[in-house]
């Protein structure tokens, strides 16, 4: 693969654009005092990081809660999203476009409107565990991403393989398990990644559904956002980014394993 110089410079600029803001974050997280004209701070300290992982900093609690909610939300997405995407991609029925728009609605309805509705909903769902009620709100927010990715893959697949299998006597479950799902894997991975990341960074839905008592990472970080304590805020921001990076790596690994398996099988 030969890369043109222009291409390389463009990618380089883009990388810098994404990476540069991280440098001051890293520096700030290791110092308390970094006045403007100095290129580097004079005193370094790991206080902010030790605070983060102390009882008060609640870094682990935040990450754990975030992931429990994200996992439940992903489960909900799978149960609701795959059948919905399948029905939309493979069947023709009256009002299909309307159903599709409603499913995607959370993407383009202003957040504030759905939040007001959610508030009322939250009080009625009071009997539910905080994790579950929060995850329900997250499903609402993440479902469009999931349905859209899965739907697209179903459209690409078409119905021909299903029909062939059905003629050979396979039932619905078998068709799904042995034909559709293996073909779905790449988009399933992408959709799951999106769901986890979007759920992970939600603040308002979590706040409203749990009444501020389920301390996911955004809820732990938020009180510091306006405190003017740059060091703590920087450390939390980096902490917030770490699991996303991890998820991204897992996504690429799984994708590669899947691709390799497919090439092996086709040989």
């Amino acid at each position: 693969m030969v890369k043109k110089p222009l291409e390389i410079t463009l990618i380089g600029i883009l990388t810098l654009f994404i990476l540069l803001p991280f440098i001051p974050l890293v520096i700030w997280s290791f110092t308390k005092h970094w006045p403007w004209p100095l290129l580097m701070p004079e005193n370094w300290t790991i206080e902010s990081w030790t605070y983060l992982f102390s009882i008060s900093g609640r870094a682990f609690e935040g990450i754990l809660n975030s992931f429990i909610v994200a996992a439940i939300a992903l489960l909900g997405n799978i149960v609701l999203g795959i059948p919905a995407a399948r029905a939309l991609a493979q069947n023709e029925f009256i009002g299909k476009n309307i159903v599709f728009s409603i499913l995607l609605a959370p993407l383009f309805i202003p957040y504030t409107i759905s939040i007001i509705g959610m508030h009322d909903f939250a009080l009625r769902l009071d009997f539910l565990n905080d994790y579950v009620s929060t995850a329900i709100a997250h499903i609402l927010v993440t479902l469009p991403y999931f349905v859209a990715t899965i739907w697209f893959q179903y459209r690409l697949m078409g119905k021909k393989l299903n029909e062939a299998a059905s003629i050979l006597g396979a039932n619905e479950w078998k068709i799904f398990l042995w034909i559709e799902f293996p073909l779905l894997v790449p988009s399933f991975l992408l959709g799951s990644f999106l769901v986890l990341v979007v759920s992970y960074s939600q603040y308002l839905p979590t706040w409203i559904m749990s009444g501020g008592t389920l301390l996911t990472l955004p809820l732990v970080i938020f009180p510091y956002a306006n405190s003017g304590n740059s060091s703590i805020v920087s450390a939390y921001s980096l902490l917030f980014f770490a699991p996303i990076l991890l998820l991204l790596i897992i996504y690429f690994l799984l994708l590669r394993i899947n691709n390799r398996k497919n090439t092996n099988e086709s040989r």
């Binding site: 308390k32 005092h33 006045p35 403007w36 005193n43 300290t45 206080e47 605070y51 102390s54 009882i55 008060s56 900093g57 149960v79 059948p83 508030h119 009080l123 009071d126 009997f127 539910l128 565990n129 905080d130 994790y131 579950v132 039932n171 619905e172 479950w173 009444g211 501020g212 008592t213 301390l215 809820l219 732990v220 938020f222 009180p223 510091y224 306006n226 405190s227 003017g228 304590n229 740059s230 703590i232």
Partner: protein
């Protein structure tokens, strides 16, 4: 046919899953016992044993958070067998949350203790969001608090009537870098002269920021002859005579402020940042120990010192309250009482965690506690207790505060 069976099985699974998830801990919370306000202290303590109490408070300061999580929580567990869980939330947010719950008739909420004062307390009390008068129940309140003083009886001019217990006192101080200036100004007029001689080295956060608004109240205090009238009920006639004097001084200062007064810091955090960077030489804040704290953590230069005006600076108290639907009011009372104990209050005064003035009356402390208090190191930038308490001025009513904030935007900010 097959397809519908498949959908059915999915639905049944979903319902089973959701019903399995309904939590036990929430069903346990029963509507609170209104009798709690009539039962005796021993009964309250016994009922609180083995419970969990949820403390909702502003969470933007590591020192305060550590004080609660690392110092108070383990001791509360050991002494009273009460588990303490801190939730970070701004006061306006939990008041809104309470209002929604009240409208929906939610009898058992999630919050047991709130950290509150001023406007938020006034709303909460007027809207019936609080449990009721409880301070009389608390032994430590009875024994150590000066129950007759004005800053315990009124919160920003609003009668407290036992609906909240005083947790601490703070006083407004100015901070300056003693390596850059030697004689800090002692009044608003001296400050004005100083600003004119040192253009660009002073500014204040734009009201309605909490600190900026307090700074403007100091100007009012200096410019008006009858400051006392502002402590009483709202009276429009009073304003008409006084407001021009306030805006006049601020507008005279304006061209000599940081960036010629064309823009102001939006928050105290931004002002502190300017001070840390050395762009301005003074900062301010409603916390007399904050400068010492920031020197200790290395954020402020070592040469930072604080000062108050000759005629004094604003002081107020902040409080702890119990919401009307607290799931564990017994535990809440035990926690508040413990936070008012000399032991907890003296530790709070220590710079190690927080460094804030006690809400207890020094005269009522035992000799032993007095000795401990004198030995506490409050940091080199903190003024002595005597100097602070001799330079205190009370807060004006909440409506006047709002009027000053609106007036500033109209008459100073926009000009």
């Amino acid at each position: 046919m097959k397809k519908s069976r498949c959908i059915n099985s999915i639905l049944i699974m979903l319902i089973l899953f959701l019903s399995a998830c309904t939590s036990d801990n929430k069903n346990e919370t029963k509507p609170i016992d209104k009798n709690i306000l009539t039962s005796d202290w021993k009964g309250i303590k016994d009922n609180a044993r083995g419970t969990k109490v949820n403390f909702f408070m502003w969470g933007g300061d590591e020192g305060i958070n550590k004080y609660i999580d690392e110092w108070v929580a383990p001791r509360l567990k050991e002494k009273y067998n009460v588990e303490l869980k801190r939730y970070p939330m701004d006061a306006t947010e939990f008041i809104n949350k309470l209002m929604t719950e009240k409208k929906a008739n939610k009898t058992s909420g999630e919050m047991d203790v709130l950290w509150i004062n001023g406007e938020n307390f006034k709303i909460a009390k007027q809207e019936g969001l609080l449990l009721g008068p409880f301070t009389e129940k608390l032994p430590n309140f009875q024994n150590y608090v000066d129950t007759e003083s004005d800053d315990i009886k009124y919160d920003f001019g609003f009668p407290i009537e036992g609906y909240e217990a005083p947790w601490g006192k703070v006083q407004f101080v100015f901070a300056y870098d003693s390596s850059k200036m030697t004689n800090p100004p002692k009044s608003i007029s001296e400050l004005k002269d100083w600003v004119k001689k040192n253009p660009g080295k002073f500014t204040y956060p734009a009201p309605p920021d909490f600190t900026g608004s307090a700074f403007v109240r100091h100007v009012l205090h200096y410019q008006t002859e009858n400051y006392k009238a502002f402590l009483n009920d709202y009276d429009e006639a009073l304003i008409d005579n006084e407001d021009d004097k306030v805006w006049k001084v601020l507008n005279e200062m304006k061209p000599y402020l940081w960036r010629e007064g064309k823009s102001y810091p939006q928050s105290i955090a931004q002002l502190k940042q300017l001070y840390k960077n050395g762009e301005v030489w003074m900062t301010m804040g409603y916390d007399e120990a904050n400068a010492s704290n920031l020197i200790k953590s290395g954020e402020f230069p070592d040469t930072t010192r604080t000062f108050v005006f000759d005629k004094g600076t604003l002081a107020n108290s902040h409080f702890l309250a119990i919401p009307y639907n607290a799931p564990n009011a017994n535990g809440a009372l035990v926690l508040i009482d413990y936070l008012l104990s000399p032991e907890a209050q003296l530790k709070k005064m220590d710079l190690e965690y927080w460094g804030e003035t006690m809400s207890l009356s020094v005269d009522k402390l035992s000799d032993e506690d007095k000795k401990v208090m004198e030995s506490i190191d409050r940091g080199k930038a903190t003024l002595s207790q005597d100097e602070l308490s001799n330079h205190r001025i009370p807060e004006i009513g909440a409506e006047y505060v709002q009027w000053l904030e609106r007036g500033w935007i109209e008459n100073v900010g926009k000009k």
